[in-house]
Symmetry: C2
């Protein structure tokens, strides 16, 4: 790839969240917290005549509504080629990453100058409209262990960050639909999410983030039997893990999952956030 | 060094700014834009009994009011050892970097958990109260070609970012006092700064940032004869450079200064912003 401009967007695992629906997708979103990962999505964009647009992910042609939304909004036609080592449909925000990476790379490659906030706004609205995410894009843009204090894209949304050790482990057991969970009654999610956020802001550490996420998964009724058993295995080692929202995925900061004998992927917290490299000629 | 916890804070060169004074130092600050640099300040903090505190910069004991403010606010006593390759008093925000690096490293090393916004707020107020900076700390925390849309520390201040090539050159000819400039009539500065910000937001690119900064330096009456002559040399090569606010320093994005024959330092735009590394035991 890379005959055009390439952006990198970290994967993003939400630990806990609340849901805010709003007619204006820029104001819709979620409060909560998640971690941006050094495992992410590289998105390459190159101009293409109308009628020859194509979006590929790891070489396969895919139909991603959020990417189409972004290209429409920027008023460009392009080929988008994305590569990722992240599992799909497993709670890593890949759709948000595709939208945000497309926005950043297309802005540069097709000479449509926008500030980063404007591009994050576009990608956030794309993800919300496509029903694929509520907070991944802003977390991916911010980087780190990112806290969503107020929902939505900039300037509506408001972000903070928790300082943490950077080793992350994760293991995925299958796919799960974000849309179906959000279509149900979100009352229990919202109440559990608010409690988790309060707990984290009261003691802003990586350990408390994982513990509050674990409690949230249980209180919100989102824990599957399989994940419950995994998290219990980790707890027996004296460590902690929780569940990626929303996917059949367990994650830990540190070595909780490997200590419990799981064969995990290992990466780092990505502190930088989504970025696009612009070569100096 | 590094017997404690070490934070890295990028240097920060402001290109243009406006001044906002306020009784509450968290709300005082500036609008404007600047670049965070990969040349920066490493700040190591280790606990020390009261009476044995010491702040060193490149091995020399120094008295930095903003650092004392931060340690007081966190309620800790510590030794702070900072190292930097940046010139002092030349417009690189070293005092802001010392304050922010101390806040980040002390929070971790002395187990005083705070969110990043809280630590940025503390360091910003420290820099403002010490009369050493109005916008360096928030630019250093944000990283990149950072735009200060609204003045002050979070949650009052508001930031954005311009996408840019990352090569930066700079050359310093001497020291200059920020405090003396800000003590004068800031009317011309504010008017020129608002014009520059409007121009940049209208065309958010690295080239426009440097051009708007160049115009600002002239309109605000801050350009010395020496810097005017340097910037003119660069202009004759068909490239652009401007002046670091506030220092006897010229900077360019790209190779404007070296093309004009100047012997420059070369670094990158630091997109990540200030960070502290927390080892995983």
């Amino acid at each position: 790839m890379s005959d055009g401009t390439t952006a990198f967007v970290p994967g993003h695992v939400t630990g806990f969240f609340t849901v805010r629906t709003h007619d204006d997708p820029a104001k819709a979103g979620s409060r909560g917290a998640g971690i941006a990962l050094s495992d992410g999505v590289a998105v390459d964009v190159v101009q293409a005549p109308a009628g020859t647009e194509r979006v590929t992910l790891n070489g396969d042609t895919v139909d991603v509504a959020a990417v189409d939304f972004v290209l429409d909004e920027l008023g460009v036609t392009a080929r988008v080629a994305a590569e990722t080592e992240l599992p799909l449909g497993a709670g890593f925000g890949v759709s948000g990453a595709l939208a945000l990476g497309t926005a950043l790379a297309a802005s540069v490659e097709l000479d449509r100058p926008h500030t980063e906030n404007e591009l994050v706004d576009t990608a956030h609205r794309a993800d919300v409209e496509a029903n694929t995410g509520l907070g991944d894009v802003v977390g991916q843009a911010h980087g780190g262990l990112a806290v969503r204090l107020a929902p939505g894209a900039p300037p509506h949304g408001s972000m903070d960050r928790v300082l943490s050790t950077s080793r992350v482990e994760y293991v995925t057991f299958g796919e799960r639909s974000t849309e179906s969970v959000l279509a149900g009654d979100t009352g229990p999610i919202d109440r559990a999410g608010e409690r988790a956020l309060e707990r984290l802001l009261d003691d802003p550490t990586g350990e408390t983030f994982v513990a509050a996420s674990r409690q949230f998964a249980e209180d919100a009724g989102l824990l599957t039997d399989r994940l419950e058993s995994v998290l219990e295995d980790v707890r027996e080692t004296g460590r902690a893990a929780s569940m990626a929202m929303l996917g059949e995925t367990a994650f830990a900061i540190g070595d909780g999952l490997s200590s419990a004998g799981y064969d995990t992927e290992v990466c780092e917290i990505d502190r930088t956030g989504a970025r696009v490299s612009i070569p100096f000629d």
